[in-house]
Symmetry: none
Subunit: 125 residues, 2 copies
DNA sequence: TAACTGTTATGCATATAATATAACAGTATA
DNA sequence: TATACTGTTATATTATATGCATAACAGTTA
């Protein structure tokens, strides 16, 4: 596990950790059923509180990426391609929402936004 | 001025207010040189603290949207709306390119992206 | 049993957000 | 000039989110 976190980032530490671990799962650096670093182990490695690691792991479990068993550890959920896809769809959704906000505030019409989509998605066809 | 704010939103009240006022400026509901509601007036109307309104106005002034004069009030800065619009269009373009990259990696079809776009842009019609 | 796992509870520190209250300062006008 | 509007500033309080430290507890495995 190679996780880099930044204390000065506006993104909370536990969010940075969940993101890094998701990425490791996507890239198969963390394989199916593989055990994640222990909460205390990773906390020591990153020199932060284990409670912050726990919070990150709780979030990952909530979202179905890992499964935690008391006394044993946390393990990557058998890979669910649909789950990964959903994650990416949510990411895209976030960006579309940002676009919507910008368009709303700047009084840019849906037609104009649609036009930008069309140009970018078809430019290398 | 017709501003709707939500106390349960994760977006801070003062941000909701700056956004609403920017929108009013872009849509020309608030015209150049026009006076904004007084901090106390708007605070009473929205039933929140005038300090929250002040914070929003300070932010708007920082970004150049309005100009505040003690004793007189806050006024919409004369500006080049077309220039601002162009900036916002570029911002949107950047996000669309990010979306394209994600969709490519996650094997998400253009149709699916179009569907997300449709849902988000039409959800409150 | 020992040495790992994770869990829970408490308290502390800090930052942001939002509020209430009060006093102060500039502007316009009756 | 008095007053009623504008905005400004200072202080204190409350709530929430984030992150940490410590300690005790509980399950698993060798």
């Amino acid at each position: 596990m190679n996780i880099i976190i930044s204390n000065s980032s506006s993104i909370p530490l536990y969010e940075q950790i969940t993101q890094a671990i998701k990425q490791a799962i996507f890239s198969n650096e963390l394989k199916e059923e593989e055990m994640l670093p222990s909460v205390r182990g990773l906390a020591n490695e990153l020199k932060i509180s284990f409670l912050t690691i726990k919070k990150a792991y709780d979030e990952l479990e909530e979202e179905g990426f890992i499964k935690t068993v008391q006394g044993k550890g946390s393990f990557v959920t058998p890979k669910n391609l649909e789950l990964l896809r959903e994650e990416k769809l949510k990411e895209i959704q976030g960006y579309v929402e940002k676009i919507k906000d910008i368009a709303l505030v700047a009084d840019i019409s849906n037609e104009d936004v649609k036009e930008i989509f069309k140009i970018i998605f078809e430019e290398d066809k």
